[in-house]
Point group: C2
Chain length 536, copies 2
């Protein structure tokens, strides 16, 4: 007996039920007519997109999502659709997967393992199901599972005990660096333990802070990956099963870590701009490494004609910064403007002279420069409908080495979760494809250029020390004692941790950025601003 | 048999374990020596403060909190302490209450009902306990419960079945308008059903977006409130029980709704400034009603000498606005500065002239004015270490009638959850205590004064229509159809809803504000920015 199962790795828009239904229908018809599939499997919560957050608390939204399932059942025949949706129960909501075939519901499964950690809040919305769901299709017994279910032990086994010969899994598994290896390793091991072949369909696309990386796959009963779809791209594929043995297919090769990080950032920018309807993007180009990388990412995401940059030199901007910024814009073919900030800075200095009389210069004056740039960029963004991208990296976001409403002004922060050392790696990686960032931008010491001869290392531990301390503190929740015991200088550790703790208020007002590490700022790390805890 | 139970309604600082332990010891000694209490009951998660958010994921923090309990047990004798703390279990965490007496633990209860809705994320951190806990003390059987437990049916009954004669409840129950009535009504009814007298101890104080309003109380076995502590104030009280019957005490009268709203806002400002170590507060005074109210609140919270204001007139500022602003500052005795914004606005206009050539004026030019004010205020805040308060209300935050990095710039947004019509009511209420806001500020039509003869009603439905629409949409999750069916004009409803949906990106970057309604923006309402759902 042969069974052809299609994996519909598609980019959905959160909340746009009508568009998502259209995409489901198109994909199902393609799978049926072109791929000759018997079943087509979609990602978790297909109908609403993931995560729909508090839209899920609205009765009208849930009604619309449930009605969409009835529509779908009638609109596509001669192929079975496995679709995720928020199922309205009696006063409760389930994260469900339904099998639609010839106008009727063959089966409906309610997700049992509801993640409520990290970026996930599923217990805010959903009630857990309490049993597996196995249905017969063309003589094969197929079990349904949803995402977290197959990371837990017990649920696959319960499917097997109910007679399942094959598992389908609907997923919305977000990307972080290295996740794809972890994901396949965990799930292949689960399959191996149970000897149940598994079809894993993941969503692809960017949604605010999250990237879904696709890379859907099929594991045979020995726990071997026999098929893998592309990362970061939409793809509808089909796998033939001979009985429950997948007929060997081809695996898309996995990208290198640096390449997948780069592509995640590109996809994140592209989807944020496209799904929110902006007329391209805009950024300030300083001649430094951060804005150089963001420019390259933006051009790779949107194309040169969709991106505009502004150089906003001050008296502290070195000539080489301006020269390099122009080289970057030219190398990528983007339009640039030059607007020196002196007139506005001078105006504010005079306006504040009386109030500030007798008070020493401090970071206030540096912030004024950064905020003048923020005003210019936001004015251009407002006037032209272009999304303003900020260029701050994760190291800066961690320690607050950034000006609120200054360089932090913007709608989206592409490299907010990229530590400084990784910024350099990504720049070198991009240059390995074609040189777009002058070498000197990569090798010169980083500087905010807000005061004479300023460099980052005046205020912060050098990044070679700072970044690993931050990873341990922010991502791994290690204590100061543990980090010092690992060999870092206690002065650096105390300084870094104190700055992280003190700058929660800035991060709370920062634009969303793309999660690429195991723990990003935003929904993933929820700290009080008001906090008396001092871990040092 | 007589039993004296003290209620320690105290203001804790999240994360400051050492300071919280000191406060617990002081309160316990006072309860023992001054009030002759046998038992002193503290609020939920006393040791860490509530909500400690992702601090609870840190092993060092949990260890410190658990060690604090051992310390406490040894440091206070001759009175039983009932203290809340995050109990480290085997690889899991419990939200627990422990009874310490003469150096030993008499009982330890693990919270069974973990709220994970609204502002609550307890299932992110805690595992639920699975049984009640009743202990004997001086011959009385006492049950322990924590907050959400006593809102659910079943848990009180289970305590009764285990022999409890009296219940103690540790709480961190946040304020919203009318909550105190709801809270007492629900709990008195539960007590009535079970005929178990109950001692309810609530935290008091501000923590970022939340206000805990105190108003701890005691209910007798008939379900009658026989004692109530003050709202919004620290208070350590004692209630004598004759057997399990409370000896009738006195109830602090409940404040009127408007008075409690006003006091919640005052406490919120005071605690945010105090707990975060600011040198007072600062705000821009426009002559409009919103900044007039925020000034009055700030002065009532901090005292006049701690507050500074800045008038920043433009060519569109009417004379009466400046006059009224000065009258407000004078009435409250605060220092004011006048810094006209024309020089900065003119500088930006010239700097952007070339880039904007041939493009029509639009809101960009209005935003530049607001952002120049933002730069001035932030410079003063940076230089003087004063917290910048924003003055936007909930109606504006809902529809995005505010400038990001302009009037939205600041560290704290006191009236962010106060709808415009309530702003007027609160202003009138404040004037009823002593006149600090000129009558004409209350009666003139509201205007942003960013363009000639501009009034809010040019861009928005009048607030008498807008506010109830927003309440239904934002707080009650009603659909457009439901709101229209309730009698609101469809044009107004569609306009309002579209603006709310479209402005999530602004709210995501707004400073935290004080929750006073049933659903505030912030942790309480989590929406995607990227969303294709159009409920209209």
């Amino acid at each position: 007996m042969s069974l052809k199962i299609a994996l519909a790795q598609i980019n959905f828009v959160v909340g746009n039920i009508a568009a998502n239904v259209d995409n489901i229908i198109k994909a199902a018809v393609y799978a049926r007519d072109q791929l000759k599939a018997d079943i087509v499997v979609f990602p978790e919560l297909t109908i609403t997109g993931y995560p729909a957050e508090d839209l899920l608390l609205r009765a009208d939204f849930i009604t619309a999502a449930n009605n969409a399932i009835y529509q779908l059942a009638e609109q596509v025949i001669d192929i079975a659709l496995v679709v995720g949706f928020p199922e309205q129960g009696e006063g409760v909501l389930y994260n469900s997967a339904v099998v639609l075939h010839q106008g009727v519901t063959l089966a409906c499964y309610r997700k049992q393992a509801l993640p409520n950690y990290g970026v996930f809040d599923e217990q805010r919305y959903f009630t857990a199901g309490d049993k597996p769901c196995v249905f017969e299709f063309n003589g094969t017994f197929i079990g349904l599972t949803i995402c977290e279910d197959v990371w837990k032990s017990g649920i696959i086994e319960a499917n097997k005990n109910m007679g399942a010969e094959l598992l389908l899994t609907l997923n919305a598994s977000p990307f972080n660096s290295g996740k794809i290896h972890q994901r396949e390793a965990v799930i292949c091991q689960q399959v191996k333990d149970s000897a149940l072949p598994l079809v894993y369909v993941n969503q692809v696309g960017g949604q605010d802070e999250l990237i879904f990386d696709g890379a859907s796959f099929v594991v045979d009963s020995l726990g071997q990956t026999v098929f893998r779809a592309e990362e970061f791209k939409e793809q509808i594929s089909v796998i033939e099963f001979d009985g429950v043995n997948p007929v060997v297919s081809t695996c898309a090769p996995l990208y290198s870590q640096i390449s997948s990080e780069y592509q995640a950032l590109v996809l994140g920018i592209k989807d944020y701009v496209r799904k929110n309807g902006f007329q391209g993007a805009l950024l300030g180009l300083s001649g430094g490494i951060d804005s150089a990388l963001v420019l390259a990412l933006a051009v790779d995401a949107l194309g040169a004609e969709e991106v505009e940059v502004v150089l906003m030199p001050s008296q502290y901007t070195q000539d080489m910064s301006n020269e390099d910024a122009v080289l970057e814009a030219d190398a990528l073919g983007v339009k640039y403007h030059v607007i020196p900030i002196a007139p506005a800075v001078n105006a504010f200095t005079e306006m504040l002279a009386e109030v500030f009389e007798g008070m020493a210069k401090d970071t206030t004056e540096e912030n004024i420069q950064a905020r003048c740039r923020g005003v210019i960029l936001m004015a251009m963004s407002n006037k032209k409908g272009k999304l303003l991208l900020t260029t701050g990296n994760k190291s800066e976001m961690s320690v607050g080495y950034a000006t609120l409403y200054g360089d932090m002004a913007g709608g989206f922060a592409p490299i907010k979760d990229v530590p400084k050392l990784l910024v350099y790696e990504l720049a070198r990686y991009r240059n390995s494809l074609s040189v777009v960032i002058p070498e000197r931008v990569i090798t010169r010491p980083p500087s905010a250029e807000l005061a004479p001869d300023q460099i980052d290392a005046d205020s912060l531990p050098v990044y070679e020390n700072l970044d690993p301390i931050l990873e341990r503190y922010v991502e791994l929740d290690q204590s100061a004692d543990e980090i010092i015991a690992a060999g870092f200088k206690s002065g650096d550790v105390i300084r870094a941790i104190t700055l992280v703790d003190r700058n929660e208020y800035k991060r709370r007002q920062s634009p969303p950025g793309i999660k690429i590490t195991s723990r990003a700022f935003g929904r993933d790390r929820r700290y009080p601003i008001t906090s008396g805890y001092r871990g040092v």
